[in-house]
């Protein structure tokens, strides 16, 4: 992806110079011409990956994440807080930090999934929680050249 444009660093528009893995996943999974199943061979669990990419994040996790974000706002809204409030907010932040790492975006998960069967490349995503790692274990077993059934 090259384009002769100098104004990409306007500071307003987020304009990546090269596509990240997440961009490529977003761009190509589920897209493009499909070949009829009966003539195609070896699909390699791609469908499984696709489903993970489109996962609708469980609403409980989402609610907690937004509750946390909303609660956290007052940390920088008013300056001086008493110590009690401070520690309370921090404690909550710590607790849910673990959760938000996991649900931070379905696309990250796909990155993890894809990396499950591969290590020798250029991913730049290093904040991995243990639960994400265990997820990627699920995607790895794909093999057999048969499309996975579409689990919900």
């Amino acid at each position: 992806m090259t384009s002769a444009v100098d104004k990409r660093d306007s500071g307003y528009l987020d304009r990546p110079r090269s596509s990240s893995l997440a961009d490529v996943v977003e761009l190509i999974l589920d897209k493009g011409l499909v070949i009829d199943a009966y003539v195609r061979i070896s699909l390699v669990g791609i469908e499984l990956v696709t489903i993970d990419a489109r996962i609708v994040i469980a609403s409980v996790d989402t609610y907690l994440r937004f509750a946390e974000a909303t609660n956290r706002l007052d940390l920088y809204e008013h300056g001086g807080k008493d110590l009690g409030e401070m520690t309370e907010s921090l404690a909550k932040g710590g607790a849910s930090g673990k959760t938000s790492g996991v649900i931070d975006g379905a696309k990250d998960k796909v990155g993890e999934l894809l990396h499950g069967s591969d290590d020798d490349d250029d991913d730049d995503d290093d904040d991995e929680s243990s639960s994400r790692r265990s997820r990627s274990g699920n995607g790895r077993s794909s093999g057999n050249g048969r499309p996975r059934s579409r689990a919900r």
């Binding site: 490529v24 999974l29 070949i35 509750a67 706002l73």
Partner: protein, 244 residues
Amino acid sequence: MTTSVAASCYVFGVVPAGARLPEVDETAVAEGLRLVEAEGLAAVVGTPPADRAVGRAVDLLAHDRVLAALVAAGTPVLPMRFGAVLRDEAAVIDDLLTARAGTLRADLDRVTGRVQFTLTVRYEQDVVLRELLASRPDIARLRGSGATHSLDGRLRLGELVVQAIDRMRPTDAQAVMDDLRDAVDIRRNKTTSPEEVLSAAVLVDEGDADAFEQNMVDVARRHHPRLRIRLVGPSAPYDFVGTG
């Protein structure tokens, strides 16, 4: 299905017959890039690895790199969905190029001289939350109360916030849609999280690409700091094939 892997073809996309092959150093997902031609059309194919299944991150990136190289060379291309492998060249000719010659040609005509941009619009979380707290006393009250010390209380707060954002989204998405210029066609994709406002693919005439991008800079400035806009492309027209 037992077939020789050596004969099988990983298909990247369909181009006009006689198109120049892109020069791509490393194509992980398939090697020996070549054209298989029929009906005035050509499939860009390579031989997939015999010793492993495709589906790694490098395979996805390689798939995109080949298609991006075609686009960069000005070759009209219909991208195949990632992971398309056919039995052999005969299958590429019969089951793909010949069997679907009519629609392939029509699709190619539609994307010739055009490129895809993909934009993702997200809420700047803190800005939107502050806005909500100002406009929704019930949410502000709940947040300030001891109720959020309990899990139930936090769930209720989160639910109210997410529902409020759900109600804002259509208007904000439409505002960005209305701001788009120089689009030949637009496909909206599903959004996947509450802070995602809009995800859309835009087909643009190559000659308008710079104008389109400049306008997007203006749009991003206009919606700053509430919305953050990410623009990827120009790319192959992934969202504009096989849809009739």
